[in-house]
C-alpha cells in the first residue's frame, strides 16, 4: 500500500512537471510560412498588380458595356447580357469593391505607413496610385469612404465623403505624392514598380496628367462658371509647369505577360467565357463611318467587314457573327492564338492630348481651336501609334497607312460647332479597353450619342454600392437608382 502511494505521487509529480514545461509546447501560434511585416518592395507590386487586373475585370465590363464600347452575347444565362441590360446588382459589385478597398487600397496604405518616414519614394508612388484609384472610383461610385477609409480594426464602419471633397483631397494627395517621390529615400522602387520601373520622372508626369483628367471633368453639360474657373486655373498651372506625358512610353498602364495566368484579364475572359463579350455596334459603326484603319488591330473581320454586336439583345438574339477584339487588346497574334500580353491601359498619352484638345476647344476653357486641333491631331497620332503595338508587319502597315488620310480628312480636323463631339468620339475610340473614363465622358458631355437598350429609357449614370459594404457599413448612403446623376461633376 505504501509503495503504491509513492508511485502515485511520483507519477503525479511527473505529470505536473510536464504541465509546467508546457508553455513552450503551446507557444506555437505564429504561422511560420506567412509574413507579418514584409518589405514595401513586396507589397507595392501586389497593389499595382491588383489595380491593373481590376481595371480589366468587372469594372471594365460594366462600364464598357454601358457606354457601348462592348456588347454582351450568349443568352440570358450569361451574366454580361444582364449587365448589358443595366442589371448590375449590388452583389455584382462585391468582388471589385473588395479587391479595391480591402486589396489595392489596404496594401497601398501598408506601403505608405511603412515608408513615409524613411523611404518616401515608395510612399509617393503609393500615394499617386491611390490618387488614381480614388479618381476612377469616385467617377464610378460617387461618394466614397476616404478620410476614414482603411483604418483597419480602428474603424470598421468608415463614413462616406462627398465626391467633390474627395476630388479636392486627391489633388492634394497628388501634390503630396509628387513631393514625396522627389525626397531622398533610403529605398526606392525599381523593377518592383510594375507601372514605371522606378522612373520617378514618369511618376511626376503621370501625377500631372491625372490632375488634367480630373480638371476636365469639371466641364460638364450643365457645369457652372465656378466649375469652369476651377478647371481653367488648374489646367493653366499644369501647362505652365509643363511636366506631362510625352509619348506612349509614358502611358500609365499595367503590362501583362504571355505566360498562363499572367495575361491580361480582358484576354483571359475571352478565353474562359467565349462568345459573351463582343465589340459594340456603336463603337464599330463610329469607326466604320470614318474608315478608321485602327480597326485592323482593334477588331477581327467578320466576313469582309467589321460588324459590332448590338447592345442589350444578347440575351435573346444569340449569335457569334460579329467582329471580335484583336491584337490591340489581346496582344500578338500568331497561328490564330493571341499572346495575351497587351497592357491594361489606364491613362494614355492619347487621352492626355484629347483632354487638352477639349480644354482649348471650350470657349470657357482655353478657347483656342487652333491649339485644340494640334492636340487633337497629336492624340490621334498617338492612338494610331499605340494601335500597332502588337501588330505584325502587314497589320501595322494597314493601320499606319490610314493615318495621313484620317488626319487630313474632316475626321482629323476640328471645326467650330462639333469640335467637342469629335474630340470625345475620338477619345471614345482611343480609350477602347480603358475602364470608366469613356463612360465619364459620356455622362458629362453626352458624346458619343447613345441610345439606351430596350426596354430602358436611360443609360445608367452611377454604379450601385457593393452589397457587402451596404450590409456591414450603416454609413453607406442610400442609392435610389443607377439612372440618377450622383457624381458632383455629373450636372
Amino acid at each position: 500500500m505504501k509503495i503504491n502511494i509513492k508511485k502515485i505521487v511520483f507519477g503525479l509529480a511527473l505529470a505536473m512537471t510536464g504541465l509546467s514545461s508546457c508553455k513552450k509546447f503551446v507557444d506555437i501560434n505564429d504561422d511560420p510560412t506567412r509574413l507579418k511585416d514584409p518589405d514595401a518592395s513586396l507589397v507595392l507590386p501586389a497593389a499595382q498588380g491588383r489595380l491593373g487586373f481590376t481595371m480589366g475585370s468587372d469594372i471594365h465590363r460594366f462600364t464598357a458595356l454601358w457606354v457601348q464600347q462592348f456588347a454582351a452575347q450568349g443568352g440570358g444565362s450569361a451574366q454580361p447580357t444582364q449587365y448589358d441590360k443595366y442589371a448590375v446588382g449590388e452583389a455584382d459589385i462585391n468582388n471589385t469593391w473588395e479587391a479595391t478597398f480591402a486589396g489595392t487600397l489596404a496594401d497601398l496604405q501598408k506601403v505608405i505607413e511603412k515608408t513615409k518616414a524613411t523611404s518616401p519614394k515608395y510612399a509617393g508612388v503609393a500615394e499617386l496610385v491611390k490618387a488614381y484609384v480614388y479618381q476612377t472610383h469616385v467617377d464610378a461610385f460617387g461618394d466614397l469612404p476616404y478620410s476614414e477609409a482603411i483604418g483597419y480594426e480602428a474603424n470598421l464602419k468608415p463614413k462616406f465623403d462627398g465626391s467633390s471633397a474627395i476630388y479636392d483631397n486627391v489633388f492634394a494627395l497628388i501634390d503630396e505624392g509628387i513631393a514625396d517621390i522627389k525626397k531622398a529615400s533610403l529605398l526606392a522602387p525599381a523593377t518592383d514598380d510594375l507601372f514605371y520601373g522606378g522612373d520617378m520622372d514618369k511618376w511626376e508626369r503621370f501625377g500631372n496628367a491625372l490632375k488634367l483628367r480630373m480638371y476636365i471633368h469639371y466641364f460638364s453639360t450643365n457645369g457652372t462658371a465656378a466649375d469652369a474657373t476651377k478647371a481653367k486655373t488648374g489646367i493653366t498651372a499644369i501647362l505652365a509647369a509643363n511636366k506631362l506625358l510625352r509619348a506612349n512610353t509614358d502611358n500609365f498602364q499595367m503590362k501583362f505577360l504571355s505566360s498562363a495566368n499572367q495575361t491580361n484579364p480582358i484576354h483571359q475572359f475571352e478565353g474562359s467565357r467565349p462568345n459573351q463579350f463582343f465589340p459594340s455596334k456603336t463603337l464599330v459603326d463610329i469607326m466604320n463611318a470614318k474608315t478608321d484603319s485602327r480597326r485592323n488591330s482593334f477588331f477581327t473581320l467578320q466576313g469582309n467587314t467589321y460588324v459590332g454586336a448590338t447592345n442589350g439583345n444578347g440575351d435573346v438574339v444569340v449569335s457569334t457573327a460579329f467582329s471580335r477584339m484583336s491584337t490591340y487588346l489581346r496582344g500578338k497574334l500568331s497561328a490564330g492564338v493571341y499572346s495575351g500580353e497587351a497592357p491594361i491601359r489606364m491613362l494614355t498619352f492619347a487621352e492626355q492630348n484629347q483632354v487638352l484638345a477639349e480644354y482649348f476647344a471650350r470657349t470657357n476653357g482655353g478657347n483656342d481651336l487652333t491649339t485644340a486641333d494640334i492636340y487633337y491631331k497629336a492624340g490621334i497620332t498617338a492612338s494610331f501609334a499605340s494601335a500597332i503595338e502588337f501588330s505584325d508587319g502587314t497589320e501595322a502597315t494597314a493601320v499606319t497607312g490610314g493615318l495621313a488620310t484620317y488626319l487630313a480628312s474632316t475626321n482629323g480636323t476640328l471645326a467650330t460647332g462639333n469640335a467637342l463631339q469629335k474630340i470625345i468620339e475620338e477619345k471614345f475610340v482611343s480609350n477602347f479597353g480603358v475602364a470608366i473614363e469613356p463612360w465619364t465622358d459620356w455622362r458629362r458631355t453626352g458624346f458619343p450619342v447613345l441610345s439606351p437598350v430596350s426596354p430602358a429609357t436611360a443609360i445608367p449614370r452611377i454604379l450601385p454600392y457593393s452589397f457587402n459594404e451596404r450590409s456591414y457599413n450603416p454609413n453607406t448612403p442610400a442609392r435610389p437608382s443607377v439612372f440618377v446623376k450622383s457624381v458632383f461633376w455629373d450636372k
Binding site: 502515485i8 508546457c22 507590386p45 501586389a46 450568349g74 478597398f101 510594375l194 495575361t263 484576354h267 426596354p455
Partner: protein, 1042 residues
C-alpha cells in the same frame, strides 16, 4: 486542481477491507448459439464489491465465495447478462447473444468502459453487423439514420463522396460542426470532405480510410456531456470507433469474407423525347436547349456540318452512367493464449463508380494485440496501415464537370455518335456558330465534352496512413489502476490534379491547362495518462475517481506546386508546364488538458458524476489560452430503488438521467494575428493573375483580420432522458430532450471592405439548439425458431440563431452569391437565400409582355427561399430471423429539408424535362401586372419554363427534400453447425445478399434523389449543383470461419 488532488488522497485512504471468502465454485460457460466455450466472461458474486474472475480459454472458471453468497452473475460483451443461483459447487452457464447487449457496457470517452445504467448522458452504440449491413463505401454512411440525434448527409453518388455527420444540431457558426473521431482511444482525422463550389473533384472525408469489417463497434457520444473528457475538440460530440480484438485464451480462428456489389444510379430524370435541340421551335445544333423543332425525322446539318436525321435519344444521359461495382475481401486471424490476445486483418477494397475514372482502391492492414506482462501489467497495441488510391472527375460549378450539362443533353444529341476528342486527344469546342468538322462538342458556351473530361480531367490521390497506439495498464491495487496510452495518426496525401490542356475550368485559364501537385503530411500525436480508482465504502456507496492528462499535437505540412500551361498534351509531369505557383503551409497546434472525474453511486441505483477539465490551447494568446469547464450528470434507476415497480412484470427497468455540461472550443489556428499572403487577384469568371509576376513577388495584407484578444467559445448543454424496459425486456424506450447554447462564438464577422478588412475575427454571437430523440425497440415475436425485432428512432432538432454580431444582419455559410446558405438572426441555421421575383400582394409581377423577365427580379435584397434542415428524421430497423436465416430491413425517413436544385433548374429551363414536352398549349404565369391587374398574357412553354427556372431567380427551384428510402436490406443465412460436421475444418459459413438504397420515395422532389450536397462536409447544406446522383447498390457476401 489542488482541491481535486486533495479529494483524490482522501479517497485513497478510505479504503475498506476485503470480505472473507470461504468456498470455491467452478463451472463452464458456453454460448447458447453454438455450444462453444466462452472465454473472458466475467463471473462475480451478486452483491459483492469485488470484481470477480474471468473464464479461461476453455470457458472454465473458479471463484471463491463466502458462505452467504447466493447468486453468480455472468456477463460478457455481446451476450445477455445472466444470474444463476448457486446450488452445489458447480455452476454452468449458457449465455445468449444479445442484440441489445452493447447497451449494457458502453465504451465512453477515453476508452472507459462503463455500465450503461450509470451514465447520465446519451451514448449509442452501433455494432459491426449494423455497420456492414448495407455495404457502404464510407463508414459514415453506414451510420445514416441509425442513431437518434445523428444526421448523416451524403454528398452524392460519386465514388469516394464525403459524408457529413452532425450530432444534435449545429453549435457553432463557421467552425466545424463535425464530431471528433477516436479510434481505439486515439483521436484520428476525419477531415478533408469539404467541397469547393467552383473547382475540384470529389473529396473524401478521411473516415473513408477505415475498414468497416475491422470495426467492432461505433459509439456515438452525443454532445458535450458525453464527450467532455475529450475536451475542446469534442464539443460537437464524438464518434468512438473500437476495432476488433482477439480474446485471451481463444483458440486461433481464421475468417475469410468477401462481398461484391453492383452500383447504379438510383434515379435519373424523366425526359421529353419529342423536341429537338434548339430554341423557338427551330433546330439549332449549337444550342444547349431542347426547345427546337418537333422531331419528325427531318434531316438538317449538325454542328459538324453533316446532314443529320433528327432522332430522339431517350437514353443519351443514362449512357453516361455505366454500371460500377465494389468488391471487398478480408482475411482475419485472431486468437489468444492465457496471457495474450491478437487480431490480424487484411482488407482489400476496390470500387469502380458508375462513371469511368471514378475509382477507389484500399488496402487495410490491422494488427491488434495485447499481452499480460506480469500479474499487474498489461500492454496492448493496435496498429493500422492504410493505403488508399483514388481517381475522380470534376464536380460542382465547373464547365469541365461532366454533369455540368451532361444531365441535360439535348434530346437529339447522342454523345456516342460524334468524336469527343481531336486526333491529338484534345477538346475542340465551338468558337462560333459556323459548323466545323473538327469540333468535339456542340456547346457554344464552352462546356467540355463530358466524355472528354471524364477521360482527361482527373484528380488522383494516394493516401498512406498509419494509425497506431501503445497502451500500458498497471493495476496498482485491486481498486486502483493507472494507464498510459500514446498514439499517432499520420498520413501522407499525394495528389495530382490534371486540368488537361484545352479543358475549361477555373484552374485552366484560357484553356491552357494546369497541373497541381500536392503533398500533404498530417500528423497527430496524442498521449493520455489516467489514474482510475474504484472503491465501495460505507456499505452502500461506490466511488470511481479518474484523474488524467491529455497531450495532443497536430501538424500539417503542405507543399504544392501549380503548373499552368500544359505544353505537350497528356504529359502530366509538372515540369511540362510554363508557369509555377508554389505554396507551402505549415499548421501546427497543440493542446494540453488535465481532467478529473468523480462518479459516486448509491446502492448501484443512483449515480452522480462530476467532471472538470482544464485545457491549454496553443490557438489563443498566452493570457487567454487556459480555460476550465465542468460537467455534472446523474442517473437514477427507479426499478432498482423501488423493486416493487417491477412486480407486475410490465416494467422491468426504468432510468432517469440528466446532465449539464459546458465545453470550450479552440480558435482557428494562427488567428491571433493578421498576415500577408501571396497576392493573386481574380474575378468570379476565371481570369486571375499569379505572382511572382515579371520577376517580382507580391505580398498582400489579408482581408480577414485576426484578433489577439480572441478567447474560447463555450457551448453549454442540458439534457434529460428516460430509459425504460417493459414486458420482460421485450420492449425498450429511450427518450432524450436536450438544449444547447453557444456563446462568445468565434467567427469572422463581416466588416465593410472600406475599412481595409472584409472580416474581423471576434467572439460574438449566440446560437441555441434543442431537440428530442426517441428510440423504441422491441421484439414483437420471440419463439424458439422465429424472432422478429423492430426498432424505431426519431429525431427532431431545431436551431435558433439568437444573435450574430452588432450591425451584422447575416453571414454566409456556403454556396454562391445567390443562392446562398445564410446564418441570420431569427432564422434556422443555414437558411437558403436567393433572388425572387418582385411581388405585389404576394403575387409575382410580370412585365408588359406577361413575362417574368430579368427586370422582374428583385435584385435589391436576397429573400429566404428554403430551410435545408429537416423537420424530423427517423429510422426503422427490422429483423426477421428464422433459425439461421435472417432478413434485415432498414428504412430511413427524412421529413422536410429544402433543397435548391441546379440540375432541375437546367432540366426545365433547357426544355429536356418530361413536363416541358407539352408544347401544343400555351402557358400563363400566375401573376399580376405592375398595376395589380391579373396577368392574362399567354406565353410559350419555352418562355414559361425559361422565366421560372432562369438561373438568376431561384425561388421556384427549391424543393422539399423529404424522403423515405429502403436504405439497407440484408438477407443472410448462417449454415447450421450440424450441416458443417462433414467439413470439420470449417466452423461457420454465412452467406447473404445485401442492398443499399433499393427503394426511394421522394414525393416532392422531381427527377432526382434529394440526397445530394454541393458543399460536402462543410456547414452549408441544401444546394444541389450538377452533382453526381445517388447510387443504388446490391450484391452478395460470403463469410467463412475456420
Amino acid at each position: 486542481m489542488k482541491k481535486l488532488l486533495q479529494s483524490l488522497f482522501i479517497l485513497l485512504f478510505i479504503a475498506t477491507s476485503a470480505i472473507a471468502q470461504d468456498r470455491t465454485i467452478t463451472g463452464t460457460v458456453t454460448a447458447q448459439e453454438d455450444g462453444l466455450p466462452l472465454p473472458g466472461v466475467s463471473v462475480r458474486i451478486k452483491g459483492a464489491s469485488n470484481s470477480g474472475v474471468s473464464t479461461n480459454a476453455a470457458g472454465k472458471f473458479s471463484i471463491k465465495v463466502s458462505a452467504d453468497a447466493k447468486v453468480l452473475i455472468f456477463s460478457s460483451v455481446g451476450y445477455s447478462m445472466r444470474e444463476i443461483a448457486i446450488r452445489g459447487s458447480v455452476v454452468n452457464a449458457s449465455l445468449e447473444t444479445d442484440s441489445k447487449s452493447l447497451s449494457e457496457v458502453v465504451v465512453t470517452a477515453l476508452g472507459q468502459k462503463r455500465e450503461a445504467k450509470s451514465l447520465g448522458y446519451a451514448a449509442t452504440t452501433v455494432k459491426n453487423s449494423d455497420l456492414t449491413a448495407g455495404r457502404s463505401t464510407n463508414v459514415v454512411n453506414a451510420l445514416a439514420g441509425k442513431v437518434a440525434g445523428v444526421k448523416i448527409l451524403s454528398t452524392g453518388g460519386a465514388t469516394g463522396a464525403s459524408s457529413n455527420i452532425n450530432i444534435r444540431q449545429a453549435t457553432t457558426f463557421t467552425g466545424s460542426n463535425q464530431p471528433l473521431w477516436v479510434l481505439d482511444g486515439i483521436p484520428i482525422d476525419n477531415g478533408g470532405g469539404d467541397q469547393s463550389v467552383n473547382t475540384g473533384s470529389t473529396n473524401s472525408n478521411r473516415g473513408i480510410d477505415l475498414n468497416q469489417d475491422d470495426i467492432e463497434s461505433v459509439t456515438i457520444l452525443k454532445g458535450p456531456a458525453a464527450a467532455v473528457l475529450y475536451g475542446s475538440r469534442a464539443v460537437a460530440g464524438a464518434v468512438i470507433v473500437t476495432t476488433k480484438k482477439g480474446s485471451k485464451g481463444q483458440a486461433g480462428r481464421v475468417e475469410l469474407s468477401s462481398n461484391y456489389n453492383y452500383i447504379e444510379v438510383n434515379r435519373l430524370p424523366d425526359y421529353q423525347n419529342e423536341y429537338s435541340q434548339g430554341t423557338n421551335g427551330v433546330y439549332d445544333p449549337f444550342s444547349q436547349m431542347s426547345w427546337g423543332a418537333k422531331i419528325t425525322g427531318q434531316a438538317l446539318p449538325n454542328y459538324l456540318g453533316n446532314l443529320e436525321t433528327l432522332t430522339a435519344y431517350p437514353d443519351n444521359v443514362k449512357d453516361i452512367f455505366k454500371g460500377g461495382y465494389n468488391l471487398q475481401n478480408n482475411v482475419t486471424f485472431s486468437g489468444g493464449t492465457e496471457k495474450t490476445a491478437y487480431y490480424f486483418n487484411y482488407g482489400n477494397f476496390k470500387e469502380s463508380g458508375y462513371i469511368d475514372n471514378n475509382t477507389l482502391a484500399k488496402n487495410n492492414f490491422t494488427v491488434n494485440a495485447s499481452t499480460q506482462l506480469s500479474k499487474n501489467l498489461t500492454i496492448s497495441s493496435s496498429i493500422q496501415y492504410i493505403h488508399n488510391n483514388s481517381v475522380g472527375t470534376p464536380v460542382g460549378n465547373a464547365r469541365s464537370n461532366p454533369l455540368f450539362d451532361g444531365m441535360t443533353l439535348p434530346r437529339t444529341y447522342n454523345l456516342a455518335n460524334y468524336p469527343f476528342e481531336t486526333a491529338a486527344g484534345l477538346n475542340n469546342i465551338p468558337t462560333s456558330r459556323v459548323p466545323n468538322a473538327g469540333y468535339t462538342y456542340y456547346n457554344i458556351l464552352g462546356t467540355d465534352n463530358p466524355l472528354w473530361s471524364i477521360k482527361y480531367v482527373l484528380y488522383k490521390q494516394k493516401i498512406d496512413r498509419a494509425i497506431g497506439n501503445v497502451g500500458l495498464d498497471y493495476k496498482i491495487a485491486d481498486w486502483l489502476s493507472a494507464n498510459y496510452k500514446i498514439g499517432i495518426d499520420q498520413y501522407t496525401n499525394v495528389s495530382k490534379t490534371i486540368n488537361e490542356k484545352s479543358s475549361n475550368n477555373n484552374q485552366s485559364a484560357s484553356r491552357a491547362g494546369s497541373i497541381i501537385d500536392n503533398t500533404t503530411n498530417r500528423r497527430e500525436v496524442s498521449s493520455y495518462f489516467n489514474l482510475v480508482a474504484n472503491k465501495r465504502f460505507l456499505k452502500d456507496f461506490g466511488a470511481r475517481f479518474l484523474l488524467g492528462n491529455e497531450i495532443n499535437y497536430r501538424r500539417t505540412d503542405q507543399l504544392q506546386v501549380t503548373g499552368n500551361g500544359i505544353q505537350a498534351a497528356h504529359n502530366y509531369n509538372i515540369s511540362n508546364t510554363l508557369t509555377y505557383v508554389p505554396l507551402q503551409t505549415i499548421r501546427e497546434q497543440s493542446l494540453v488538458g488535465v481532467y478529473a472525474d468523480i462518479s459516486l453511486d448509491y446502492k448501484s441505483f443512483a449515480y452522480l458524476s462530476f467532471t472538470g477539465r482544464r485545457d491549454v490551447s496553443s490557438t489563443f494568446a498566452p493570457d487567454k489560452r487556459s480555460y476550465f469547464y465542468p460537467k455534472i450528470d446523474a442517473s437514477f434507476i427507479a426499478t432498482e430503488a423501488f423493486p416493487e415497480l417491477k412486480q407486475n412484470d410490465i416494467l422491468t427497468y426504468l432510468k432517469i438521467r440528466a446532465n449539464y455540461a459546458k465545453v470550450g472550443r479552440e480558435a482557428p489556428i494562427y488567428s491571433t494575428g493578421t498576415y500577408f499572403g501571396t497576392a493573386g487577384p481574380s474575378d468570379g469568371f476565371g481570369p486571375n493573375l499569379i505572382f511572382p509576376f515579371n520577376g517580382v513577388n507580391g505580398q498582400t495584407f489579408s482581408n480577414a483580420a485576426g484578433n489577439i484578444n480572441i478567447k474560447p467559445e463555450f457551448t453549454a448543454s442540458r439534457e434529460v432522458g428516460l430509459e425504460a424496459k417493459l414486458l420482460k425486456d421485450r420492449l425498450s424506450i429511450d427518450i432524450a430532450y436536450y438544449s444547447t447554447k453557444s456563446t462568445d462564438i468565434i467567427f469572422s464577422v463581416p466588416s465593410a471592405p472600406s475599412s481595409g478588412f472584409s472580416s474581423t475575427l471576434l467572439n460574438a454571437g449566440t446560437l441555441k439548439a434543442h431537440g428530442i430523440e426517441l428510440l423504441i425497440s422491441g421484439t414483437p415475436i420471440k419463439s424458439t425458431n422465429f424472432n422478429w425485432d423492430l426498432s424505431v428512432n426519431f429525431t427532431k432538432g431545431r436551431n435558433e440563431v439568437v444573435e450574430l454580431a452588432p450591425g451584422v444582419p447575416f453571414i454566409g455559410n456556403g454556396g454562391f452569391t445567390n443562392p446562398q446558405g445564410r446564418i441570420v438572426t431569427g432564422y434556422q441555421y443555414g437558411t437558403l437565400f436567393g433572388q425572387v421575383f418582385k411581388k405585389l400582394n404576394g403575387k409575382d409581377v410580370v412585365d408588359a409582355n406577361g413575362r417574368l423577365s430579368s427586370g422582374q427580379i428583385n435584385t435589391t435584397e436576397l429573400q429566404p427561399i428554403g430551410d435545408p434542415n429537416p423537420k424530423w428524421t427517423g429510422g426503422v430497423n427490422t429483423t426477421f430471423s428464422y433459425k439461421g436465416l435472417s432478413l434485415s430491413l432498414f428504412a430511413d425517413i427524412r421529413y422536410g429539408g429544402d433543397i435548391y436544385s441546379r440540375t432541375i433548374t437546367d432540366l426545365r429551363r433547357y426544355g429536356v424535362a418530361a413536363e416541358t414536352g407539352n408544347r401544343d398549349r400555351l402557358y400563363m404565369h400566375n401573376a399580376v401586372y405592375a398595376d395589380g391587374t391579373p396577368n392574362n398574357t399567354l406565353i410559350t412553354a419555352e418562355q414559361y419554363y425559361g422565366d421560372l427556372y432562369s438561373s438568376a431567380a431561384q425561388e421556384y427551384a427549391v424543393f422539399d427534400g423529404s424522403w423515405i428510402r429502403l436504405r439497407e436490406a440484408t438477407l443472410s443465412y448462417r449454415i447450421p453447425g450440424k450441416l458443417l460436421n462433414k467439413l470439420s475444418f470449417i466452423k461457420g459459413i454465412n452467406v447473404g445478399l445485401t442492398g443499399r438504397n433499393l427503394l426511394m420515395y421522394a414525393p416532392n422532389f422531381p427527377h432526382l434523389d434529394p440526397e445530394n450536397n454541393l458543399l460536402g462536409v462543410g456547414n452549408g447544406q441544401g444546394i444541389e449543383y450538377n452533382g453526381q446522383p445517388q447510387t443504388r447498390t446490391y450484391g452478395g457476401f460470403l463469410k467463412l470461419s475456420f
